[in-house]
């Protein structure tokens, strides 16, 4: 029998004639006879796994109509009572494991399984539920995964492999442990998934759903227009992005037109979008004064008095600031300290960190000429970041425009020649990491050097008793040099804290650089030595005998505590008044906090060994000196994120009246209040902090907690002030 020959059969009493090779399901469909199904889709190869489409062909058992070819003389019954009973039992079994209502049913009311259950009048399954035991996977910015809602229909697997040729999704496990998996069972956000959205479109339940970004009105503000999907797909960097996905996320990307001089975003503001410049030029700058808060004695000696002022580097050169600094911002360029202004052109993307990790805007961007930009939400940016065309364009732009300044922003690389950087251009690789993803692991062979382009990296070391945080690194900081310098294994594990992008320089290029530039090697060795010293100091801390309260209150993490001896303190608040007097009325100390022994650990900067305040600073202006003292750099934009991040509420925002350029009317200046983050500076102008000096009852002490409480931690050794 040839494939083109017709086969006659009977379906529900109707004689039909279809081409040989046609499935029973399709034959019935051609006759207008609906057969319910979950796993079968017309554009995918039938697999017959859900068994919902079973029909009675007169055989010993029912058959799945989607995979059973027609046979001559076959008598098919699609809706007999027995078939209906079998189908109902299947629905009950599936519903028993299905969290009802699932995400899809809740959001759009179109879960196919639950719709089928309603038709079959299955309200309360007779069977005991069984959870997959797998947590939900929210790692992808655009697609939510709920493994409990998965009915193993494989539609997503076929959509990913057959339709899109990505082959990221597959089935894993056996029996009740069976489920879908991304790559080798990685989190979706960390897998090679390109977020094309095909799996989500294919899924009949709430197992794979679109993450809807609500409460963000992209359709507001300056002139905007929603871009039709087909028009988006014609843009070079949207080529290859799933039209279905774009259509589902309609409104998550808009085209905006900005007139020359118009503000696109302001430093310090919170946002959730990134901008891609289609046409025109924009100017990116920092308007907050380039200065740090200096608490200065206005009268010397015994009549000493303090006043807080904004001090520029020329007036107050601090230690370790002898080199020219570049300010890292959330754009493809860094800003020069002396002139924090740069130009952005067509093809540049800015606001990635704000969009992906919801950090405050790091700089103010103003349209230099009339501009057209695409403003997009995180799910769209994530798709673009995974799009090969867009990535290629972005990397090319980075190599051409930003690699130079980015490398030179790192003091140890300041002396690299243009020729060498040119030779690096084609060899470096931009690599992205999702939050929590390990970039390199302690003990692994050192094969690369990393320079952070976007995001924050946590450096940890594994020691007896647990993992210890050694540092937090942000844009323009680097890691991986120790293993390469020693030609040994990695000495620490580096993990992405948020959406991180690093410039990876291979071991060979790194060695070439050391050979060509011995001065770079020398500087790197000095830095490595300093880091090792810091690590040793931290390790010594761990060897103290811990007390529960000491640990739970985070006192072990503190390098300097303001303690109030509660047996002497009369609660007169002289310390608070002194602090306020020393800092223009803005106290950096609050006489409240947790108690340890008979001491009150006052709310004042602890100079933490694990300074969480540094994580997220959009311009990397809060840092730790080699002495481990936390300082705030001149380019702080006063966004307040460090104050929010400090777990002890020890960072304050200090307002200053300054004259700044009026962005609304170029060429003019206006008086405005600008803010700078401040923390306890220990009144370094004087020998003793003002709070301690002003305490009339000898109750206030600034101490190193491990030394001060040594007697409590190691009974018998006695306590002493630092």
């Amino acid at each position: 029998m040839s494939a083109n020959s017709l086969v006659e059969l009977t379906i529900d009493g109707n004689k039909v004639s279809v081409a040989a090779g046609t499935t029973v399901f399709d034959a019935a469909r051609m006759q207008g006879i609906p057969i319910p199904t979950l796993c079968h889709q017309q554009n995918e190869t039938p697999v017959g796994v859900c068994r919902m489409c079973v029909v009675d062909v007169g055989a010993r058992v029912f058959t799945a109509s989607c995979v059973r070819p027609v046979e001559a003389g076959m008598v098919v019954n699609t809706n007999s009572e027995k078939v209906q009973r079998a189908r109902r039992t299947l629905v009950e079994l599936l519903m028993a494991d299905h969290p009802s209502p699932c995400t899809r049913e809740r959001h759009s009311g179109d879960c196919e399984l639950e719709a089928m259950a309603r038709r079959e009048d299955v309200t309360r399954p007779r069977f005991a539920p069984h959870s997959t035991g797998r947590a939900k996977d929210g790692s992808s910015p655009s697609i939510a995964v709920d493994f409990d809602s998965c009915i193993l229909c494989d539609r997503c697997v076929r959509g990913c492999g057959e339709i899109r040729d990505h082959f990221v999704l597959a089935r894993m496990g056996k029996g009740t442990a069976a489920g879908i998996a991304f790559d080798d069972q990685r989190a979706m956000g960390e897998s090679s998934c390109v977020s094309c959205g095909e799996c989500m479109v294919s899924c009949p339940t709430g197992a794979l759903t679109n993450k809807v970004f609500t409460h963000t009105a992209l359709g507001s503000g300056p002139a905007f227009e929603t871009v039709p999907v087909d028009e988006l797909q014609q843009l070079p960097f949207f080529k290859g992005v799933s039209g279905t996905f774009l259509s589902l996320n309609r409104g998550a990307v808009v085209r905006r037109h900005f007139k020359s001089g118009e503000i696109i975003c302001r430093e310090g503001e919170y946002g959730s979008t990134a901008f891609y410049i289609l046409e025109g030029k924009a100017r990116v700058s920092i308007s907050n004064p380039m200065a740090h808060v200096k608490t200065k004695g206005v009268v010397k000696k015994f009549l000493g008095k303090l006043s807080s002022k904004l001090a520029q580097r020329q007036q107050d050169q601090r230690d370790e600031e002898t080199y020219k600094r570049w300010i890292p911002i959330d754009a493809p360029v860094d800003l020069e300290y002396d002139s924090p202004v740069a130009e952005l052109n067509a093809g540049d993307l800015f606001g990635e960190m704000t969009c992906m990790s919801l950090y405050p805007r790091s700089a103010t961007v103003r349209a230099e000429t009339d501009c057209t930009m695409l403003e997009m939400l995180r799910n769209v940016l994530d798709i673009m970041q995974r799009n090969k065309n867009f990535r290629a364009q972005l990397e090319k732009s980075y190599r051409q425009r930003a690699l130079d300044s980015h490398l030179r922003a790192v003091p140890v690389f300041a002396e690299l020649t243009d020729e060498f950087i040119s030779s690096l251009r084609e060899n470096v690789e931009l690599v992205r990491y999702s939050p929590g993803q390990v970039i390199c692991r302690q003990g692994e062979p050192a094969d690369s050097f990393y320079l952070i382009r976007i995001g924050f990296v946590k450096v940890t070391q594994l020691h007896m008793g647990g993992e210890m945080v050694m540092a937090y690194l942000s844009r323009s900081e680097y890691f991986g040099e120790t293993g390469l310098l020693r030609e040994d294994v990695r000495t620490a594990t580096c993990t992405a804290l948020d959406h991180v992008e690093v410039v990876r320089i291979g071991a060979n290029d790194f060695k070439r650089m050391l050979a060509e530039f011995p001065q770079v090697r020398e500087k790197l060795e000095v830095v490595e030595q300093e880091r090792m010293e810091m690590n040793r100091a931290r390790l010594a801390v761990l060897q103290d005998v811990p007390l529960d309260d000491f640990l739970t209150q985070g006192l072990m993490e503190a390098q300097s505590l303001l303690l109030l001896d509660l047996t002497s303190c009369t609660r007169c608040d002289a310390c608070v008044r002194a602090c306020a007097d020393a800092h223009d009325g803005v106290t950096r100390l609050v006489r409240e906090g947790l108690r340890f022994d008979h001491y009150l650990v006052a709310t004042s900067c602890r100079q933490c060994l694990d300074p969480l305040c540094m994580v997220g600073c959009p311009v990397g202006s809060i840092r730790r000196r080699n002495s481990l003292e936390v300082i705030i750099e001149d380019w702080c934009i006063g966004c307040g994120l460090c104050a929010e991040n400090c777990p002890y509420g020890n960072i304050n925002i200090h307002p200053f009246n300054v004259m700044v350029e009026d962005l609304g009317s170029p060429g003019h200046k206006k008086a405005t209040v600008k803010q700078k983050a401040t923390s306890c500076d220990l009144c370094t102008e004087f020998a003793e902090p003002s709070c301690v000096y002003a305490c009339p009852h000898d109750a206030a002490h600034r101490v190193d907690p491990r030394k001060f409480f040594a007697g409590l931690l190691k009974p018998g050794t006695g306590a002493d002030k630092a």
Partner: protein, 294 residues
């Protein structure tokens, strides 16, 4: 300020000054046929030294107004205030020959005795009370914030009771209370609802609003404990977490009251000490002027 071993040097110095002054006074009193006099050179010297001590003690207030000025550590000023202020009394007694003299000097002597006595009383309080406060008020807050904290507690308690009795929402609640409500899912009987509502409206809320003062039954720890034990017996087990939260709120209120009381003890004596000190210094100036002029 605690009077501890760190005061040894000041104590020794004060005893030496007192010993020398006493010896001089005894010798001078024995040598004076008409008895010691404030107008004599030695009497005048005692007066000047005593006045200087008083002035130095009084300058502590000025020092506190300039906390950042590097005029010496505040605790050194406080030690000087304590010991020199104390020494001023014998110096002035030596100056007056242990006689009160005329009306002005009598007033001055009385003022000085009260000021020194109140100072000693205050020093004793500052020595002991911080310990008591630390031990008895575990949930201590900043004194000026007590009313604010109390308002928050009342809001929490209102919301907790409303949610437990099903008569309101939990929107205004804070962490601990809200989590307590999360486990409270069983509908209460009318009797249970009435019992909880009555207790809250008639007993607890007035207590939190400070109606009834210290005589309120919930102001006493053991009475309060008994009241809450009784309340638990009439309420279903599902509400006991909420009742525990209410009991904790009452305990916090008791601690705030204790803190207020102790704070008043710690600082209340200054209401007498400071004005009288200023009066003493002022009248002392008048006395010096009049004595030198006439």
């Amino acid at each position: 300020m605690r009077i501890d071993r760190t005061h040894q040097k000041w104590l020794a110095a004060s005893l030496i000054i007192l010993g020398v002054a006493s010896a001089v006074y005894v010798f001078y009193a024995a040598q004076s046929p008409s008895g010691p006099s404030g107008g004599s050179p030695i009497g005048l010297t005692f007066g000047i030294v005593g006045s200087a001590f008083m002035v130095f003690a009084g300058l502590l207030a000025a020092r506190k107004k300039l906390p950042v000025w590097r005029l010496g550590r505040a605790q050194s000023w406080m030690r000087g205030h304590l010991w020199l202020g104390l020494l001023s009394l014998p110096m002035i007694l030596f100056h007056g020959g242990f006689r009160f003299g005329g009306p002005l000097t009598s007033v001055l002597m009385i003022l000085l005795i009260i000021v020194v006595a109140s100072g000693v009383f205050g020093a004793a309080l500052q020595h002991y009370m911080p310990n008591v406060m630390t031990a008895e008020v575990q949930k201590e807050t900043i004194f000026e914030q007590i009313d604010h904290v109390r308002a928050g507690m009342i809001a929490n308690a209102d919301a907790l009771v409303a949610a437990t009795t099903g008569s309101g929402d939990t929107a205004g609640m804070k962490g601990a209370a809200r989590s307590a409500i999360a486990v409270q899912t069983v509908a209460l009987t009318q009797e249970a609802t009435a019992a909880l509502s009555n207790f809250y409206v008639r007993e607890m809320r007035p207590f939190l609003r400070n109606d009834g003062g210290e005589r309120h039954p919930l102001a006493d720890t053991s009475t309060a404990r008994a009241i809450f034990v009784e309340l638990r017996t009439v309420l279903p087990a599902e509400t006991h977490d909420a009742v525990k939260n209410l009991e904790d709120i009452c305990e916090e209120e008791r601690q705030l009251r204790r803190q207020t009381r102790l704070h008043h003890w710690l600082h209340g004596w200054l209401m007498l000490h400071i004005p009288l000190s200023f009066a003493l210094l002022l009248l002392g100036c008048v006395h010096a002027f009049m004595a030198l002029r006439y």
